[in-house]
Amino acid sequence: MSGEAVLSVEDLAVSYGPQTVLEGVSFQVPRGSVFALLGRNGSGKSSLVRCALGLQKPARGGVRLFGEDAWASRRRAMGRVGVVPEQPDAPPELTAGELLAFCAPFYPAWNDTSARDRLERYSVPPRVPFGRLSKGQKGAVMLALALAASPELLVLDDPTLGLDAVARRALYDELIGELADRGTTTLVTTHDLDGIEPIADRVAVLRGARLVANETLDALKARFRRIRCGPSAAPFSWEPFEPIAAGEKDWGREAVVGNFTEERLGAFRARTVSDDVEVGALSLEEIFLSLAGTPGALS
């Protein structure tokens, strides 16, 4: 992974009438990274993707794709980008074979053989119109079209939406294979946090139209921890931690904190005068829930 940004979002704002969907969003997707953009439904992920692909003009700010304005240079940039949209959008009357034939002339590095191999692997019938394929098969066709262009940037907008576990697994396997082979930069928006966690390098979280997190997954996992401690007769405080959620249990207290460090843990132990302090790691899903969910007591 080099430091060069393939995609650079700068002070992006998108609104639909009076409703602001994105406000002052800025981040960069470094070359070779797998960038997971997370957020709840309606948090503006798809709007951001549309702006990134030059499909939608933002109200303010902009997106630079390969160093150029995504809106102004969309056509040139799209030759280097593979896209798997949230809703498979290929013309429903065309078969998978016809779709490959249609797209092939537009891309200089088109790999038709690999695309056809993929379709065969996914058991996509080549002569059935796209509109009559199953949801999983449609997703597979869109991924095959995206990867056949040998893209420098792969944009996956909630690619596992509506897929069953097998199809989801197949998609991630394919993605991992592609990443291992070519090191393609990937921007992925998803609700499938378990699926993306093993491959994501960097995570950004949208909440309330704004970006509330943007860092490497390792850094995120290092600062988000679950802390448990036994009952204590002394007056209790989570300081120096800043709990995002906290609650009392039969066996003691529990909190999720977002500013964990070993130094703070030492200070906390010293303050509580207790050896019964347990620190646990959080999954990406738990971190996401802490960031994007409603703060409050842990259940």
């Binding site: 549309r50 692909l53 030059g54 939608q56 040139r76 065309l94």
Partner: protein, 627 residues
Amino acid sequence: MSAVLGIARQEVSTRRFLLAAAAALSLLAWALRALLPPGWSRELGQSLALVLFLAFPIAAAIAVGSSLVGRDLAEGRLSFYFSRPLSAGALWAGKFLGGAILVAGAFLCCYLPLALSGDGIGRGAVGIWLLALVGLMAFAHTISSMYRSGSRLFALDLGLGAVLATVIVVQVRHLAIAGAGHVLLTTAALPFDVAVAAAALLAAAAAQLAYGRADARRGHVALSATVWTLALVAVAAFALWSRWVLGVTPAEVGGVRYPLLVAPSGSALLFKGAPERGRAGFSPVFLMDGESGSYVPLAPERVTFPAFTADGSAAVWVAPAVSWWWYVAPEPARPFSGAEARPAALAVARLGHGTPVVEERALEPSDMELALALDGDGQRVLLSGRAGVSLVDVASGRRLAEAPLSNIWAADFLPGGAVRLYQTPRDGSEHAFVVLDWTPKDGKRVERARVPVDPRVFLLARRGDLAVVSNGMRGKAIIDTARGAVQRLDSATDDIPGAALVLSTGLVALSLGEEVRVVTRAGDAVARLPVEPRTSVYGLSEPAPGELAVGLWTLSSDRRRTVFLDAATGVVRRVEEGLLPAGVRFGAMNSEPEPGSFASRLFEEPSGDLVTLEPDGRKRRIAGLAR
């Protein structure tokens, strides 16, 4: 280019069932028409071919246009194209090229049965059809995109569309009322209009895709802004063009065409210009003051022969009812009669004070067709219709009296309120020409003369108690109503209908094949002018008291000239080459003009230009007609 063709190919491939359906139906229609013996099945084939030709391509254009981009937009699939390295221009061109190929293909399939059976509509019409179908496809795309965007802007579009339609209707109505409605259908304006509309809609679609891309609402803004801007420009251009068309002047109409009617006194004249020399094929009827050149254009379909007052200060004519169909299929093709766009009216013109002033008044008797005579003060007019004649009050348009008299050639008001009528009644097997006096006050009718005639009879001239009719191929008859006497004169060669003039001196000049003879009311010759072989007497006039002007036209050499002679002696005074007397040649619609009047000195040049001959022999071109 390959991207454009690729998208076009995809569009055609996606909707190839349209072409297949058109081809199959076309083949069926052709087979039913061509292969089966005459009978219901062949008629079914003919009907199918016609319905197919008229309906299928229109339906195809609407279906293709409304789904070309609109469906992709509504179903969120336009992003598929914009996620590829494709320009908006290539997408637009490919989509609409594919659509045009489909629509044109469907049209040609549907047209084939008609073309094969010899009922084709011509290459020009095929071109206009194709253009119109592409325009319709673009129109369907526009409406579909606006509707499917789900934006509130669609309500504004509907409002602006209604305003635009109203403005266009007002403009078209303005043209139609002026008699120029047909130019929209019969001139080069139609393909031009269709091409401009199609181009504007296609340009709007390009703006929609370039500015909006996959964003339906943003695309809608671009589409609407382009459509309404171009529509505004088009409507403004249409208004300017309409103004230009209606602004045609007498000088532009390229020569006067008949009917040319001139007031017996004063200098008013009424004529129809040549359509091929007007503006966009429009040439109105001009009612003009020949001295000043001031004029008023009139809708041709609302003008019939006028009746003038003796002093030329007023004219009245029947403005016929015009049905809506007239504007679609003007004369001579009038396939349908329908609701009246404009009812029949009485048109009244005030003359002699510069620009003529014309106003239309409601006409009580709605079956009247022609104004026969206007009394001296312009208060009462005699109108004729199929069922009879009516005396009508000019001010109110109400009928004062009527009589069941048909086939009236002409009429004159007599002192005392009676009306003299020249008639060829068809009340028996014998053909006759009758002169009778009708008193509207008491309905009394007095027959002054009855002359048995050939069916080929024309009233050539009348003045006072004398009338001249052409009777058959060679005969002429002078009818003296004062005495009830008839003088028959025959020519040695055919002379139908010939020409005649009752001079102010009471002498009668008439053509008799090989000569023009001036005779007394008793038929005695006082002067003769030999006429060369293969030369027709075009017209006669009396430019000065006792002077006879004889217009001669040798068709073989297209030589036109007017010979001026002393009517009492036959001595030729001079010959004016290239001139012929202007005005109605026969039918004697109007009273004879007084000698020396504007009408009696009016001549026509071969170009159709009008000149008057001044007493000193100088020619004076009619103001307003000079080019």
